[in-house]
Amino acid sequence: MTDLASLAITLAQAPAGKPLTALWIIVGYMALLMVLGGASTFFFRGTSKDYFVASRSIGPFLLLMSVFGTTMTGFALVGSSAKSFEHGIGVYGLMASWSGLIHSAVFFLVGIRLWAIGKRYNYMTQVQFFRDRFNSESIGYLLFPILVALVIPYLLVGIIAACKTMLPITRGMFPEMFASTNGAVPPWLTGLVVCGVVLFYVFFGGVRSAAWANTFQTVVFMIMGVVTFYMISDALGGLKSATQTVLDSPAGAHTAREGLIGQPHFFSYLLIPLSVGMFPHLFQHWLTARSAKTFRLTVVAHPLFIAIVWVPCVLVGMWAAGQFAAGNLAMPTTQPGELVISSPEQQKKGFSMTDGLIKAKPNGQPVMVEAKPAEGADETGEKKMVPVPAEGKKVVANGALGRMVAFLVANPVLIGLLTAGILAAIMSSLDSQFVCLGTMFTNDIVVRMTSKDRFSDKQLVWISRIFVVGVVALSYALSMALLNTNVFDLGVWCFSGFASLFPLVFAAIYWKRTTRAGAFACVIVTVLTWLAFFIDDIFLKQDAVLGSVHGGEYLVAGVMPVTFIFLASVVTLVVVSLLTKPLPSETVDRFFFSKTSK
């Protein structure tokens, strides 16, 4: 509450500058979220089971919305349009339609079984399941740091994305108070408010509050995506006119895939959505389900929900590419505050946006576009941006959606609502990740290293709350420290890591012959293979020896590196399991319902 109060005071004291309409809408959204989160705590039963898994009482609609909200980050709105700006409509097939097929398959094949196992043996975390399945303490201590290490960068990406979303929206609002950010709400304050609001509701209500808040946030970002799409298409003269501009521009290739996405790359993306099978925060949401039947709506509606969010965003990104290529839309660059526009020379000769870098053609002379110098402020109080020729500049594709809204709609109410939608998508993942890490530290470390009988149920809730506060504080500090580094590159690596561990969970519930040694070898080989490619991409960069960057994406032999990590994981698991002695049937049979059910 303190965060919101301090922001309200800041707003009240703000000197006259750019209108604060958009910011007020965002503040209103945050307040609503806190009220909803607070209301959900009235249903909190005070037990650790309620705090960790909502007493396994969540119904079909809440499960669908919380699972969808958790899997869709801010990337669903901002990243999808940005990727479409760079790579065209193929991005939908690459990421969205694969996810529609694979996510639901994982929910059905893995989620329901893990829910049943979790309910039968009263599990709260993945690590508890793996420890029992392989009758091994050590597998838990091996997996715990890996899962935490993969969740934390994913979490940081969310906080940093929220901070960066607020900067351009609020630029010019507080010119004296926040002079260093050109009058924008500084990242430290945005991060503090976002973390503070999420902490407020998960601290008191645990995963139940996260599920309620996720439902509200999912509704908000789905509606805002569709509304934004309608208003942008209307401003472009309708759907047909908007797409025709792209076809007539040098970015016409964005309406297909040739030259923008390779076929092996496209196919290899099918492995990435398998990551949902190993997300610890999704595991926890699965455990909240009231019954197995609760999953039915999630399994069926998930692909449709993905289409509802992604199709409009991909179209907006493609339209932005067309508008930019036609010289109608200025785009931000890596230089803060700089906007660039494609020159008539570029438009005549054509250019590539596949690297996010506008490549000047040989002999293509830059042509200055006519623009007024920045003098004072315009009628909105914002200093005018002077677009410069785009040749040789690196365009920030993540600005595609924001620029389209600002340039074409220029409605502060819509900008405020869209920003609230983006924050909703980000926060609906953050809350689950915070609760999940608190749950894991409590159950997998504290309880494990002592004894469950040592703590009362209430004490367990409070231990978890303390861990949640610690995780939020650490995440906030790390995100501020890494604010100006490109942690976004880590996102796909987190997904690759989780996806490559998927064979472990799949084998654990479907292949009795999986042995403890096989599980250990699988995890260790996955980590080592992952590290080899990760170091090659992130640290060696241009000197990479295993792969190379194509169209902004690190590929190995034309496919995603997850292909090789996944393959290494599967082969190791199978070979080592077959070479080692099976676990005794009394250990294994407990996890295979078909044999023991009546």
């Binding site: 049943a116 303490e137 076809l247 692909p303």
Partner: protein, 103 residues
């Protein structure tokens, strides 16, 4: 005429085959360089994959209708509110299963 138990045995196999076919149909190389528009605004490649998402929804609707694991509910409820049955730190990793040697 097949009885209910026959259909519950057949359905998962049919769904598995359909899912594999869908995974293959995802690779729509025939639309790779096609810039045609559907309804005058939707690139055909995007239209195809939007339809693919709807088809995925239909596939999973058929799955929950015809291949639902009915027994799992009862199995999960068998030990309702069971205490955690994890091995003790001292006994795990070394106890009883003879793990580690070559088969």
């Amino acid at each position: 005429m097949p009885d209910v138990s026959d259909s519950t045995r057949v359905a998962p196999k049919v769904i598995f085959i359909v899912a594999i076919v869908m995974a293959l149909l995802h690779q729509d190389s025939w639309f790779w360089d096609n810039r045609a528009l559907v309804l005058g605004f939707l690139p055909i490649g995007l239209f195809y994959h939007a339809c693919f998402s709807v088809a995925a929804g239909v596939l999973w609707a058929c799955t929950v209708k015809f291949a639902w694991p009915d027994k799992i509910e009862a199995w999960a409820d068998e030990f309702d509110d069971a205490p955690q049955s994890t091995p003790t730190p001292a006994s795990a990793d070394s106890a009883g299963d003879g793990e580690g040697g070559a088969a």
